[in-house]
């Protein structure tokens, strides 16, 4: 599993790997918002948690279809399936690599971008915390979606349609916790629900992903 994780990270930073693509997309979307809604500080501060979360979600979505598609095309997925590493482990390693190359940089960049949107001072800690808790779920659910559409022509488009509705709970509770944090309201409930979604998807989705991969490899 570690070997696969290291290989995927290495591939991501090599030419054509797409590392930083999601991050750049995140940056551009967030910078575009003030151009669209105007520079009023009050308006921006109000919508900042939602914008940051939606942008992070779309940025994570951007690189999902590469998770299995490239391995499927060059045959390594079939070889991995016959290797001693269980496919559940492959799914987990893939999701982990996706999170390290996408979710983690997004989380670290988010406070800077929050500053651009006049995010309330009290909300920075919650922004960092919710993204740290929520982005692993985005990667894991996305890995499942990528497995569903592996081998399909133009599968990336179908995958977006499948995955985005599944992202809704994470988005709602993540953005809600940041908004509550900014307004000084109690945040325990949305944070706990966010943690439940992440823990649940990491616990169950590797098995679902492996089952789907087995069917798609037939």
């Amino acid at each position: 599993m570690i070997a696969l994780l290291i290989r995927d990270l290495r591939l991501a930073v090599r030419a054509g790997g797409g590392f930083g693509l999601g991050l750049a997309f995140f940056l551009i979307v967030v910078v575009l918002v003030p151009f669209g809604v105007g520079p009023e500080q009050m308006v921006l501060a109000r919508i900042a948690p939602g914008i940051l979360w939606v942008a992070a979600l779309l940025a994570a979505l951007l690189s999902l279809d590469r998770i299995f598609a490239l391995d499927f095309e060059d045959g390594s997925l079939a070889l991995l399936a016959t290797a001693p590493l269980p496919l559940e482990g492959v799914a987990l390693a893939k999701a982990c690599a996706h999170w390290i190359t996408t979710g983690l940089p997004l989380t670290l960049a988010a406070p800077t971008l929050g500053f651009l949107l006049h995010l309330d001072g009290a909300a920075y800690a919650f922004l960092l915390l919710t993204l740290l808790m929520g982005t692993p779920a985005l990667s894991m659910i996305g890995t499942f979606g990528a497995a569903l559409t592996v081998g399909l022509r133009r599968g990336g488009l179908l995958m977006s349609l499948l995955v985005l509705p599944l992202y809704v709970p994470t988005l709602i509770f993540g953005a809600e916790a940041v908004r509550r944090g900014a307004e000084g309201l109690p945040t325990a409930a949305p944070l706990m629900l966010l943690a439940v979604i992440t823990a649940g998807s990491i616990a169950f989705l590797p098995f679902a992903t492996a089952a789907v991969l087995r069917i798609n490899l037939r």
């Binding site: 060059d74 390594s76 079939a78």
Partner: protein
């Protein structure tokens, strides 16, 4: 070492082969022959466990490995990195004499993306030397290899793989120069109305 009885396998929900029975002893090679589309790849994928058999039994003592038309080579990694990855996944060490055996010595640090088709194939086959599996299922391993490389690969199969007690099932159209049993698959083609796999046929 490998025993197959009454195997029936399907591709895309349509049965292609039925009643396939054979056995392969340790230290021997079985060559699968048959016209295009007869089901060589399907049979190998079924044997390797990538798809379930509709009927029949496959008993395999020893761990198996599969090599397809695609090499599973990552173009952005170097030759050594590609092989080291498969060694890690299989918890093996990368033997140094392997590079010489597959004539990859001078290509060690080259990115796999800059290799020619034949060199890439050699790299794909060198993976088999890394993973140290006893039962090999090889699907047209010699595609895009020149005559010299084909001999080199046949030598590796005979002198290294078979010598350490392994066995192999190879689908190929050319003569590898190995003393091998041959299984002609044409007599096993499934009758068109053999049915089976209906659930997938609908999808």
């Amino acid at each position: 070492m490998l025993q197959v009885t009454g195997l029936r396998c399907a591709r895309g929900g349509v049965p292609v082969l039925e009643n396939v029975s054979f056995q392969v002893a340790a230290g021997t090679v079985l060559v699968l022959r048959g016209p295009n589309g007869v089901g060589k790849t399907t049979l190998l994928r079924t044997l390797a466990g990538l798809q379930p058999a509709l009927a029949g039994q496959v008993t395999c003592t020893g761990e198996s490995a599969y090599a397809s038309h695609a090499d599973g080579v990552k173009t952005a990694l170097s030759v050594t990195e590609n092989l080291a990855f498969w060694a890690d996944v299989h918890a093996e060490t990368l033997p140094d004499d392997l590079f010489a055996a597959f004539e990859l010595d001078e290509l060690r640090d080259r990115l796999a993306g800059t290799l020619s088709a034949g060199q890439k194939r050699r790299l794909g086959l060198a993976r088999l030397g890394v993973i140290n599996r006893q039962v090999l299922f090889l699907d047209e391993p010699t595609v895009s290899l020149d005559g010299n490389s084909v001999r080199m690969f046949a030598n590796w199969i005979r002198d290294v793989h078979l010598a350490r007690g392994g066995c192999a099932v190879i689908a190929t159209h050319i003569d590898l120069g190995l003393s091998a049993l041959t299984l002609e698959l044409s007599p096993y083609v499934a009758a068109p109305d053999a049915g089976g796999g209906m659930d997938e046929a609908f999808l």
